[in-house]
Symmetry: C2
Subunit: 369 residues, 2 copies
């Protein structure tokens, strides 16, 4: 039985905190947010390409066309369209079930990687994924734990336990270890305490697992969801797909893979963590993005020729409307200029952009969100 | 000999500190900066209309058409076009000479009022101008001194002396008094000292004077300029205008009326000041404009429906591009959004906008200025 590895990229979520660049109709993952020349989903697929046999993207019908255009290497079969959002367990479970259906003669491992995260350090990433795949073939649900370089309150943490080989591999050797538990985003004090122990890593939401193992856990923990997904996958590549989707999809349980599988399986000792010593960020808001821009960009995401910044240390300017932007005398400013909407705020208030988007919706300007 | 009074509105100056709304091609005076529905030059002409026999505007050829469109009550003869800027003495002197040429049988008093100032209190303005005109007929050069309500460092001051009637009229009666001297813009300490004496008023650059008196002073103090203007005025309403302009205009001395006439004549006791107890501002920068906006405007100059402001006290937003502007968490912010350029700064740095405009010119983006 040939051993194969497939990437699954769930591409949902609007990235509301990155408004007005990110919109429901053109979300975060479709944007080049690092000035690399590649959008986040393109960079994600690029990064995985040398490691995988193929890549599947699971997304909403609204974004399938844009994703197909951005990832011309994918066939229509590689893009799984959800009729409506049903959270990450349904998305990844669907991919697992379809992969098993399509490749009954393979030992399929799949790895789920968010479409809108930023990663720096390709060799370290590949090393971690290969270790994760090898560990997944030992029937673990495997996650990649990111080396935490500061006590962030924006990320969840993974509490790392003993080596899965019973202590043979020291932590620094990069081997897989048991996950004791996943934690929610901590407050600052708790985050600092986590770092001090040396036993916590950031949870980047990356999961690598045998398709059969994932579906077995699902059948045990979320049987209704497993049944629905299995029925849908059976008819996916037939002319009954839409009919079966219409029957089962609306009733699928909305739950994140973290809660459906990762947490309960970790409690039972079935989750392993592989250290990821690459740079990682989920680009949660404009403040995070400002930190990710290369120093040479001078705080500008886009054409530097369009921007004049004077005495505005730590600021980020996104000139996405082709106009000249002059920023004078405001430190840590966030200025995002798009064709129909302009945001002016500071890093400190970056998290509140989400509220403004809500406000716009309520006041009848949902067209801008 | 009939006594007449003409308004002269020199309309020059780009209002660089109000960039990017104000541009060389569409300067400050052509904009409605108070949300009144009238541009600054329209409001200036409206305010003078009930007081004058006619109004002349002196401007550059680039703006003649726009001014004509904004002031349809003016004939072509009422707009004097300068081939190039030669400062305020040439502009006002030209108007005086042309008025004398056109109205040899009148006792002409002219009053010069900037095209781009904001005045609040029409009755008080009219009272002051009528007093100034009456005083000008006694051969004084008359200015209107504005009651200073705070120790501004942005304006020049007028040091007020004895009543021109030899002390008969008390200061509070609103009669004309001698000008001891004009001062430059003071530092904060000096400005506070001025206010403490009770003898200083703001210099709004308003001059009311008999045309003959003005030209006599000019002949004595700036004879070459007087000769050039007299020669030009003699041919202004003939088919030799352009020829004579071409010969004399380029050589005219560039000097402000303050330096050419007001200061030396004041030193000789020939300048009177009439108290102006109306609100006045030269709208020197965005900070000044923010103070002038009515409270009901909520810091927005333009369509309030286009603006969402949250936790940004004291801010001013100018949504002049028809886009939605969201301002979040920056106090005293200045956000000016136009079709091809965006400015983001704070009141504190409002004076420095001028430097940015210079910078844009130097870097080859003069098209935006």
């Amino acid at each position: 039985m040939s051993q194969t590895f497939y990437a699954v990229i769930p591409a949902g979520g609007a990235g509301t905190r990155l408004w007005p660049l990110s919109r429901a109709g053109h979300p975060k993952f479709l944007h080049d947010l690092t000035g690399s020349g590649r959008t986040l989903i393109q960079a994600t697929a690029d990064r995985l390409a040398p490691l995988v046999d193929a890549t599947l993207v699971v997304t909403g019908t609204a974004h399938a066309e844009a994703i197909g255009a951005q990832l011309p290497g994918l066939s229509q079969d590689d893009i799984l369209c959800e009729p409506s959002p049903r959270d990450s367990m349904a998305a990844i479970g669907l991919a697992a079930a379809v992969l098993l259906q399509r490749h009954p003669d393979e030992d399929v491992v799949l790895g789920s990687f968010a479409a809108d995260h930023v990663i720096d350090g390709r060799a370290a990433f590949e090393r971690a994924v290969r270790t994760a795949v090898a560990t997944a073939r030992r029937d673990f649900v495997v996650t990649i734990g990111i080396a935490a370089d500061h006590p962030s309150t924006a990320f969840g943490y993974i509490e790392v336990g003993k080596a899965v080989d019973g202590g043979g591999a020291a932590r620094e050797e990069g081997g897989a270890r048991h996950v004791v538990a996943f934690t929610e985003k901590p407050d600052a004090e708790t985050a600092a305490a986590y770092l001090a122990t040396g036993s916590y890593r950031w949870n980047a939401g990356m999961f690598v697992v045998r398709a059969t193992v994932l579906l077995e856990h699902l059948r045990r923990l979320q049987p209704a969801l497993a049944d629905g997904l299995t029925a849908i996958a059976a008819d996916w590549d037939t002319d009954r797909r839409n009919e079966t989707l219409a029957r089962h999809w609306p009733a699928l349980t909305r739950i994140a893979i973290d809660h459906a599988i990762a947490e309960p399986v970790a409690a039972a000792g079935g989750v392993a963590v592989v250290p990821g010593d690459f740079g990682w960020d989920d680009v949660g808001d404009w403040a995070a993005l400002a930190d990710l821009l290369p120093a040479a960009a001078g705080g500008v995401l886009g054409s530097a020729a369009d921007v004049v910044v004077r005495d505005s240390a730590g600021s980020i300017v996104v000139p996405a409307a082709g106009r000249t932007v002059v920023l004078l005398g405001i430190d840590d400013a966030v200025v995002v200029d798009t064709a129909d909407a302009l945001l002016v705020t500071t890093r400190e208030h970056a998290q509140r952009v989400k509220d403004v988007v809500g406000l716009l919706k309520e006041s009848g300007r949902g067209d801008l969100t």
